[in-house]
Amino acid sequence: GGGGDSGSGGGKDDGKLVLGFSQVGAESGWRTANTKSIQDAAAAAGYELKFSDAQGKQEKQIEAIRSFITQKVDVIAFSPVVTSGWDSVLKDAKDAGIPVILTDRAVDSQDKSLYKTFLGSDFVKEGKEAGDWLVKQNEGKTDPVNVVELQGTVGAAPAIDRQKGFAEAIKANPNIKIVKSQSGNFTRAEGKTVMEGILQSTPDIDVLYAHNDDMGLGAIEAIEAAGKKPGKDIQIITVDAVKDGMQALADGKINFIVECSPLLGPQLMDLAKKVKAGETVDPRILTEETTFTQEQAKAALPDRKY
């Protein structure tokens, strides 16, 4: 690659790496932590960061990437809003000789040469891990297990994938059944109202699977208001492991959390330096992520940053 153009601006002469990063938006605390991690890491590495917030819109993100091309940044990184539809703008970047790194979410482009690497989580895998844990809990049992699923924003990639992975994991166990599946829009308030409604209409709930911590935390409020004990009367599984979620896990109100780490910053800076230098990197780098049970949460909680 290399920044090819002879007419590049004067600001770059100091050799400082310029990274253009286009964020999905600020739709959750997770995302804000993600943003912060990247900003901090860039500052620590001494890179100039061009940051742009797409407010959840693909068109804004495309616009931002084109703007990065115009601004002649050294490396472009972005968390795609959706999986498809990037070929055209990535080609523009390639033509301009600017390497691209995907973070957090993958794209389904067939031409793999359009980006250098993907750094992030696998949402399907997260759903699967949540499902696996539930299956393991019920190993050997045949009593029916009624699961309520609180989905994320309808049509959003994490929602679709976490649903998919979970369904796949429990497929082999006919006694585990999803009795209600509703969207809580990834927010606490909707998680609560939806759970209220479900509690009213569904008599027998054993497990709640929420696509993120926030919805789970909202649901906990609803469960408590209905006079039930979250974590005991109803087992709760969530994804993300933000601080509030970990606290609830440690308090025994949540039973299991699949981590989805927002702290991509340092890894990203590292990769940026490598691709700028023209080194080859792995086409797919998964963030170091884990899962938490209640005991693990108690141990991990003190140094949870976000």
């Binding site: 004067g10 964020q23 900003q39 061009k50 742009s52 068109e59 498809s84 067939q110 049509g155």
Partner: protein, 338 residues
């Protein structure tokens, strides 16, 4: 009874006989003011940011906002009649989803293209008919349209669907050279053509003038014997068509379809029109104004992208502040000259 000359002669130039009274003919002033302010904003960008002087900044303004532009064109028609169309964003999502799904299913592209455009127009026509014949508030009728269109899109397919059709990818990769280094895309050209056609229709055709008449006073227009029903249904049809066109441009731009695309576009389009001087109560404004309105939003985004150190919170605040500054200045300039 008429004993004297009905045409008195006056010598005082300040006071014309039987002339219009208060305002000079100021119809273009808001647009010129908006244009001037837009240029000031651009100059501000030039002074402050490196690489802002590249032609691609201006070219990308059209390219990035082609979809919004197409939608704003249709919205201008609707707002000029005093209506509103909230369904446009959802029509975009339905169009992109349907296009991508059909193409994925192997339908011939040359069939899919007119099909989705007609579908958008029909949806608009349906809403227009409900609005006119059942006298339902445009807000609620088009909100139902919004739910319906996005609901259908989500029902058809929730996922982001790639388009691998050859025609679409060719159109997407097409670059039209402008000068030596700058290139633009087909989508920008199509959107600009839509603006030109709309401007011509509004200024030079009977239909266009009827649109303004209805916006001025629908009751009067009816009593003057204008085809109110036809015109009103037509503007919603146009808006539906333009939204579908926006959707198609979207699929060409990104070679994909997704049911969540176009979220919030309705508000952007309405705001663009209004910033461009189209009165929400109807009857006044120009499609070039809407074009400028779109450019205002585009330029604000561009500036924020060049600024490059704003997080989400500050991005919103700066957008608000820039918008505020722009509108207040625009208001002051136009009021002064009135």
């Amino acid at each position: 009874m008429t004993v004297m000359s009905p045409q008195p002669v006056t010598t005082d130039p300040a006071i014309n006989p039987r002339r219009r009274v208060y305002r000079p003919n100021t119809k273009y002033i808001p647009i010129l003011a908006t244009l001037a302010l837009l240029l000031v904003m651009y100059l501000g960008g030039l002074v402050n940011y490196e690489n802002f002087d590249q032609p691609s900044v201006v070219v990308n303004l059209f390219r990035d906002n082609a979809v919004l532009l197409a939608v704003a064109v249709g919205m201008t028609f609707v707002i000029l009649t005093g209506g509103i169309d909230l369904s446009v964003g959802a029509v975009i999502s339905l169009t992109t989803t349907l296009t991508a799904t059909l193409l994925q299913g192997g339908w011939p592209p040359l069939l899919v293209l007119p099909l989705v455009l007609i579908l958008g127009a029909l949806l608009g026509a349906g809403m227009g008919a409900v609005i006119h014949y059942f006298r339902v508030e445009p807000f609620i009728a088009t909100l139902a349209g919004l739910f319906l269109a996005r609901g259908l899109a989500l029902f058809i397919n929730q996922e982001s669907i790639p388009i691998r059709d050859e025609l679409w990818t060719t159109l997407s990769d097409m670059r039209i050279p402008l000068g030596e280094t700058t290139k633009t895309t087909l989508t920008a050209i199509v959107a600009l053509v839509a603006v030109l056609i709309a401007a011509a229709v509004l200024a030079w055709t009977r239909f266009g003038r009827n649109v303004y008449a209805i916006g001025g006073s629908a009751d009067s227009a009816l009593l003057m014997g204008l085809p109110v029903a036809r015109t009103r249904i037509a503007v919603y049809t146009i808006s539906g068509f333009c939204a579908a066109l926006g959707g198609v441009l979207y699929t060409i731009n990104s070679t994909s379809g997704h049911a969540l695309q176009g979220t919030g576009t309705e508000l952007d389009a309405i705001a663009s029109c209004v910033i461009g001087g189209v009165l929400l109560t109807g009857g006044a404004g120009y499609v070039f104004g809407s074009l400028l309105g779109v450019m205002v939003f585009g330029l604000i985004t561009t500036i924020i992208n060049f600024q490059g150190d704003l997080n989400a919170a500050w991005t919103r605040i700066v957008v608000g502040v820039l918008l505020f500054g722009f509108i207040v200045l625009q208001r002051l300039v136009t009021r002064r000259t009135r």
